[in-house]
């Protein structure tokens, strides 16, 4: 049960329903100049990435820095990193929905949009890091005339494929169906015929009748229920790509929870980055209030502590296992060895710096929160670097130890996905209500000052 007295006001500025709709829909009607500029930049990045991908596919993975010892490089780091970011949206919506945290309503739309774009970005990497990407369909378990020859159901990469495609499907649907009432709102207020037609098409003829709302709610619950499971499963399964192997530093049972938490961590950090940008650019401070940011920061403190625990647990287990290879991996390689910089960059950014959020002064200063959210994102990238690179480059036989460094093609590929992400987010700003209007209104209603008496929530 939600008590606004405890939480405080969720929407500032005593807004009426109409006002809320207008303010949130304003960016869709009027496009600021900087948007075009930013979109151009992101398209440029995207184009560079396309060129890198062209080189990759036409010439071969040899254009990357990967080798016969470390066969997975930036591609897999970035894949896990994007998937992690792609976690936040759904996690945010689902978990806060289950916990009945109504403050999520201002943020969940953006978070879900981010999820969909990030998962798209992520899915490019496993596809194109294949030696023969044109045969990617071999990974589908489809009936065939070769025996029939099935995929290897024991392979984590197959689980991965299933988990990610299911996740992408569910989170995209969840996001899209949540938007239907808002599309209808735009359709109803739009003046141009084309806009009316387009948004009309996407709103599936939504009229706003109680029956429709009832079904809408039911659908959200069903999808939410499925998504809740997927949120946990998808990154657990990504972690099995490593955990199932024999490679020291990969072969560990802590990975599934550690990956899920890590993903939520990076996702929440990216949500922060995004909503602070939204607040700054679109003056959404009344909806995404300081207390929203504050709440996310508090969550981050907690997750950061878990991350720190996970890191130290890994180190402890390496020592406790008594395995030479594990010991070498952690103590001589990661902590104090060739990859010490990457390890400590990860540790400090993820386990130490977020602890600054204990201070209210930090949480209140948006620029500081913004900087820390970026640091967490970088730290989480280093975490994946630590996992993917350090392990394979220093595994069992020292004769096969080989260093890895990326080439411009791999960097270009990553920059390309960053551009894709930015472009996706910009398109989202431009064409889709950034905040779930209908859901927000349900919160606003409770918050009306003349409505003194609080009612129990009928649902959610």
């Amino acid at each position: 049960m939600y008590n606004s007295k405890v939480r405080g006001r969720l929407i500032q500025g005593d807004k009426s329903f109409g006002q809320i709709s207008r303010e949130i829909l304003a960016p869709i009607d009027k496009t600021p100049i900087w948007w075009y500029f930013a979109f151009l930049v992101s398209l440029g990045m995207f184009g560079f990435g396309l060129y890198a991908k062209y080189i990759t596919v036409s010439t071969g993975i040899g254009t990357w820095g990967v080798n016969n010892s470390s066969a997975w490089g930036w591609a897999i780091i970035n894949f896990v990193w994007w998937i992690g970011i792609g976690h936040a949206g759904t996690a945010f919506s689902i978990f806060l929905l289950i916990l009945r945290q109504k403050w999520r309503t201002a943020i969940n739309r953006a978070a879900e949009a981010m999820t969909v774009v990030a998962v798209f970005c992520a899915s490019l990497f496993p596809l194109l890091h294949m030696g023969r990407p044109w045969l990617f369909f071999f990974i589908f378990p489809y009936p065939n005339t070769r025996g029939p020859l099935w995929v290897n159901f024991n392979s984590p990469l197959f689980w991965d494929f299933v988990a990610i495609s299911a996740y992408l499907l569910i989170s995209a649907s969840f996001w899209y169906f949540g938007m239907v009432p808002d599309f209808a709102t735009i359709r109803d207020t739009a003046k141009s015929k084309i806009k009316k037609a387009v948004y009309g098409f996407f709103s599936f003829g939504w009229t706003g009748s109680s029956k429709e709302w009832l079904r809408f709610e039911a659908l959200s619950f069903v999808l939410g229920g499925i998504a809740a499971v997927l949120v946990v499963s998808v990154h657990s399964i990504v972690s099995t790509d490593f955990a199932v192997s024999v490679v020291p530093g990969w072969h560990t049972t802590i990975f599934p929870p550690y990956f899920v938490i890590g993903a939520i961590f990076s996702g929440f950090a990216m949500v922060l980055t995004l909503v602070i940008t939204m607040r700054g650019l679109y003056k959404m401070n009344d909806f995404i209030t300081d207390s929203h940011v504050d709440a996310v920061c508090r969550v981050l403190i907690f997750i950061s502590l878990i991350m720190g625990t996970a890191y130290t647990t890994e180190i402890f287990m390496a020592w406790y296992s008594g395995s030479d290879y594990e010991m070498y991996m952690f103590f001589q390689n990661r902590l104090f060895g060739d990859y010490a910089f990457e390890f400590w960059a990860m540790f400090v950014s993820n386990a130490v710096i977020p602890q600054l959020f204990w201070f209210k002064a930090v949480r209140r200063r948006m620029w500081m929160v913004f900087v820390i959210s970026i640091i967490i994102n970088i730290g989480m990238w280093f975490e994946r670097f630590n996992i993917v690179i350090t392990s394979t480059s220093r595994d069992f036989l020292p004769a096969s130890w080989a260093n890895y460094s990326p080439t411009w093609v791999e960097v270009g590929f990553f920059v390309g996905t960053l551009g894709m992400f930015l472009a996706g987010v910009l398109l989202f700003f431009r064409f889709i209500p950034m905040i779930a209007i209908s859901e927000l209104k349900s919160v606003a209603k409770f918050d009306k000052p003349n409505n003194g008496q609080l009612k129990p929530a009928s649902h959610e």
């Binding site: 990967v66 016969n68 470390s70 066969a71």
Partner: protein
């Protein structure tokens, strides 16, 4: 019963009549039926068949014309898809090897060792293995050339014959410059040529000669020869700078003998002890039980000291032995304990040093036991003295013409550039070389001879050991054997070396045997076996004299200033003649693990003090060289490999590394492969080297397990205690895989393996492993399916060295198999870990999850790609591909298959013959030609097989067995024989 008859025929022969009647009846019925229908079913089918065929032909008229033509008349012994093996002889760069050439559909594609040879004993070296690729070298001459332009044989013969006749008339000297010739028949051809042209002088010249040994034996025994070293008979082997396992004299033979003297399987087996004195870390030094890093100038001092110590011990003299820079008292004791079963050799080309070695061997009573003087090694006949004289005469215009055959002095003589202008200025210069080289580039005429796999020849590598070489493919280009060219010029109208050879054999060698009564049967037998050894040995042991010893024991004070630089032959390229062979260029040096370059091996301590690292550049007498910091390099010395820096070799070999022959000095009529007083300066520059291994320590992991001989004698499991422990811990929830038929396995005896790299090239030839070039090797993407890992331990100034061949371990619990999402790498029911290239999509998960890192990814398209312009970028180069093995496309993973094609072939053979497979019948490429017999392959399900015995041996362990991957490859502990 009354008999009725219709005609007289019926009455006379009723049966025949009835038959005829029935036939006529049927015919009549058919005729009626045909008439009735107009066309028969047969006609219908005919029309249908014709129209379909016409439609097919018309529709497919744009089909490309296939060049493959089926055999209309099948040659008797050629079955498409089945390999034929022909015995032949390899002799290049002073290295002899008896071989079997595998010919598939008319193309020689692989070289195997010939087990009938007493010299190479089924062993080969990497050079021998790679020589098949030289056949398909793009740098080969396609036609005769006149000053670089195409010409015809007729034109060349006409011009040169006139010219030679004129020179004969003018009595001007003509020099026939060859490398060492071990062919008795060729020698005869040359003699006849000389008889025809008395003005012709024949001169043998080698890039790396054994002139020191020849001179010393002339002094000690009165005959210039290289004696027959029997390493298998020696209990103590002392080598002074002789890389007898890698490049020295007859390395394959010596490797066989050396490893035979170190084979430890059962209790009571004995093991030789090997001392090595050397400057840089050679392949041989890396296998030594006791190794002394010394300066090249100290070698003679130590030998003198050793000689005196031995003399004292035997109470022959009382004067004090001169001081030795290293402590050799233990060595002297060891030698004295093994009189008559020790062997001292030196790689030096200094006659005095070799005289000392002879004296020591004589003192130890080794002659007649470990060194045989009745038999000589003929592979090193090059005479540096005569060559210097020739050079002087050429300069003085006393030599008018040079006929160059197999020698490349412009490249491998210190005065090469001078020689080049002299040859260019000679009245006539002809090269018989089959491919581009520096000397040929200077010659006016190029009359290419065929590659040895296209030619007839014979050889006498050791006195009393004969062998034949036969063509295995018809000549690819317009070439003519050098012998035929000489015969032609000597007046033979239509020279035929084959007939000449055959005749010579029936004249000369037929009488040496009694088994065959017909020379033709004898010839066929030798041709089939490849080798011939007369029953009666002709040689007699020579007696030793102390000639020259007095001079030899004089110790001249070596100058101590400056660096001493040792020049050595690299194991891959040897003297550099095969510089255009990409397989050899890419074979990592066995010690430095560097390919595609030579480098300056510098001592560790000096490097640390001067901030020099791998890939730094130093100048050596002004020449810039990249550095490899070499553990075990003697202080104050640098070693650099010869055989690099070719300028005219072809697209692969041009300008790879630096040519060090310019630094070779000719002293006392012999090339000396070291020099002192070198100036070395560090620079700020760096030069990228292609290292295929960058970490040199085992990090305390039980990867190579070792023990010492005396400990092994007490307890064969010594050094291998972990094995039992792991076995106890091997608990699993899963049922163990069962192999009902065969279960293939391989054993690697780490004590036998010397690390020469023959297996890598043999595998490369067998399995179409692609060459990827320097940059990609540097990127750690080398494709070799079997690699030899090399580790150092103990103090870096003089480390212990470990060689460990690692190929796919074919784990029964393979980590690669369960992670592949598309099941591209399943396990066979014979225990093989297989690769289905067609299925592989290239996720590379298996590469990551292989603890042995034996999986190789095709990062690029390596075949038919201009970016990888090595062997596989031309139709000619691709002729070497083995049709039994798929050429892998870009983006798939590949790895050792245990030569599954050979397994299948032998299984089919046994099945057709209706018998069981014999143990040892199947031999993967690496196993077949291993010169050290370090690899054993067989069926683990057969308790009596050799492999099962190896697996049951106390020394056996599995690599990373604690991971419970259950490898099908076992390793036997490395045993050293240090003095207890």
């Amino acid at each position: 019963m009354t008999q009725y008859w219709r005609s007289l025929e019926e009455l006379n022969n009723p049966v025949e009549f009835k038959k005829n009647e029935v036939k006529l009846e049927i015919d009549a019925k058919r005729a009626v039926a045909k008439k009735a229908s107009g066309s028969s079913r047969r006609d219908f089918l005919k029309v249908l068949g014709f129209s379909v065929a016409t439609a097919a032909v018309v529709a497919s008229c744009k089909r490309p014309v296939n060049k493959a033509i089926p055999f209309l008349v099948k040659p008797e012994e050629v079955t498409p898809g089945m390999a034929n093996y022909y015995a032949s002889s390899y002799f290049q760069g002073n290295e002899y090897c008896s071989i079997l050439v595998k010919v598939r559909d008319g193309r020689p594609i692989k070289i195997e060792g010939n087990d009938l040879s007493s010299v190479s004993q089924r062993g080969t070296s990497a050079r021998v293995q790679a020589s098949v690729l030289d056949l398909y070298d793009d740098a080969r001459f396609k036609t005769p050339l006149k000053r670089g332009d195409e010409t015809s044989w007729a034109e060349a013969d006409e011009y040169i014959q006139v010219k030679l006749d004129q020179l004969k008339k003018d009595n001007k000297k003509v020099v026939l410059l060859t490398s060492t010739i071990i062919s008795p028949t060729t020698k005869k051809v040359i003699q006849e040529f000389q008889q025809f042209y008395p003005n012709v002088e024949w001169l043998q010249y080698d890039a790396v000669s054994a002139k020191g040994i020849l001179k010393a034996s002339e002094l000690s025994f009165g005959k210039a020869f290289v004696p027959d070293y029997r390493f298998d008979k020696a209990k103590v082997i002392v080598s002074f700078g002789a890389d007898f396992l890698g490049t020295w004299l007859s390395s394959v033979e010596y490797t066989k003998a050396y490893s035979a003297g170190r084979k430890l399987m059962d209790k009571g087996d004995e093991m030789n002890r090997h001392y090595q004195f050397e400057t840089g870390m050679s392949l041989t030094g890396s296998n030594a039980d006791v190794r002394f890093p010394i300066k090249p100038s100290e070698e003679k001092t130590i030998l003198t000291a050793l000689y005196y110590q031995l003399m004292q011990a035997k109470d022959f003299i009382t004067i004090a032995a001169p001081a030795s820079p290293v402590d050799i008292t233990g060595l002297a004791e060891d030698l004295l304990d093994n009189e008559g079963s020790s062997l001292v050799v030196s790689g030096s080309n200094d006659a005095d040093t070799q005289v000392l070695v002879n004296a020591i061997n004589n003192l130890l009573g080794n002659y007649g036991k470990t060194i045989l003087t009745e038999s000589a090694l003929n592979t090193h006949a090059g005479n540096d003295e005569n060559f210097e004289q020739f050079l002087a005469e050429l300069k003085d215009k006393k030599v008018a013409a040079v006929l160059c055959w197999g020698a490349n002095p412009v490249y491998n003589h210190p005065k090469g550039s001078e020689l080049k202008t002299l040859i260019e200025a000679a009245e006539l210069s002809v090269s018989f070389s089959d491919r581009k080289d520096e000397t040929t580039a200077a010659c006016h005429w190029v009359l290419p001879e065929p590659h040895y796999l296209e030619a007839w020849n014979d050889a006498e590598p050791k006195s009393g050991v004969y062998s034949l070489a036969q063509p295995t493919i018809s000549k690819l280009f317009d070439s003519r054997q050098g012998q035929e060219t000489l015969m032609k010029w000597a007046g033979v109208e239509a020279p035929n070396y084959y007939e000449y050879l055959k005749k010579n054999w029936s004249d000369e060698f037929y009488q040496l045997q009694t088994k065959y009564a017909d020379p033709r049967l004898f010839w066929n037998d030798v041709l089939q076996k490849g080798v011939f050894e007369p029953e009666v040995k002709s040689g007699e042991a020579l007696s030793y004299t102390e000639n020259g010893l007095e001079k030899a024991v004089q110790i001249s004070e070596a100058s101590t200033d400056g660096w001493e630089v040792a020049l050595y032959q690299s194991v891959a390229l040897k003297d550099g003649a095969s510089g255009n062979n990409p397989w050899l260029q890419e074979l990592p040096d066995p010690i430095a693990k560097i390919s595609w370059d030579n480098f300056a091996a510098v001592p560790v301590k000096w490097a640390e003090e001067n901030g020099v690292q791998n890939e730094s550049v130093i100048t050596l007498n002004g020449m810039e060289l990249p550095v490899f910091v070499q553990p075990g390099q003697a202080a104050g010395t640098i070693s650099v490999a010869l055989g690099y820096g070719r300028e005219v070799a072809g697209k692969v070999g041009d300008n790879v590394g630096k040519n060090m022959y310019a630094h070779v000095q000719v002293k006392d009529g012999a090339k000396q492969f070291w020099f002192s007083g070198a100036k070395v300066e560090t620079t700020e520059k760096t030069f990228e080297l292609a290292l295929s291994q960058t970490h040199h320590s085992m990090e305390g992991r039980p990867i190579v397990r070792e023990t010492n001989f005396n400990e092994w004698q007490l307890d064969p499991t010594s050094g291998n205690e972990l094995q039992e422990e792991h076995e106890e811990h091997a608990v699993t929830l899963y049922p163990e895989q069962e192999f009902k038929g065969h279960h293939w396995g391989m054993a690697v005896d780490l004590s036998s393996c010397v690390g020469c790299g023959n297996c890598a090239i043999s595998c490369q030839a067998e399995n179409n492993v692609q060459v990827i070039g320097k940059e990609q090797v540097r990127n750690r993407r080398i494709m070799h399916w079997i690699r030899v890992d090399r580790y150092f331990s103990n103090e870096p100034e003089n480390p212990k060295v470990f060689h460990q061949p690692v190929m796919c371990q074919h784990c029964d619990n393979a980590p690669c198999e369960n992670v592949c999402p598309v099941s591209a790498t399943p396990h066979s029911d014979e225990g093989l870990n297989q690769m289905a290239y067609n299925r592989c999509v290239g996720t590379k998960y298996c590469v990551n999850n292989c603890p042995y890192k034996v999986r190789r990814f095709n990062w690029f398209k390596y075949v038919g790609n201009d970016e990888f312009d090595y062997a596989s970028n031309s139709d000619l180069g691709r002729m070497v591909l083995n049709p039994d093995v798929t050429v892998r496309s870009r983006g798939v993973v590949e790895k050792c298959s245990f030569c599954v094609q050979r397994i299948q072939e032998k299984k089919a053979e046994a099945k057709v013959a209706g018998r069981m497979l014999e143990d040892g019948e199947i031999q993967p490429a690496c196993v077949q030609s291993c010169p050290a017999n370090a690899l054993v392959f067989g069926d683990l399900n057969d308790p009596n097989s050799k492999i099962s015995k190896h697996f049951k041996n106390e020394r056996n362990y599995h690599l990373l067995e604690e991971l419970h991957t259950l490898p099908s490859v076992g390793y036997l502990t490395k045993v050293r024989n240090k003095k207890a």
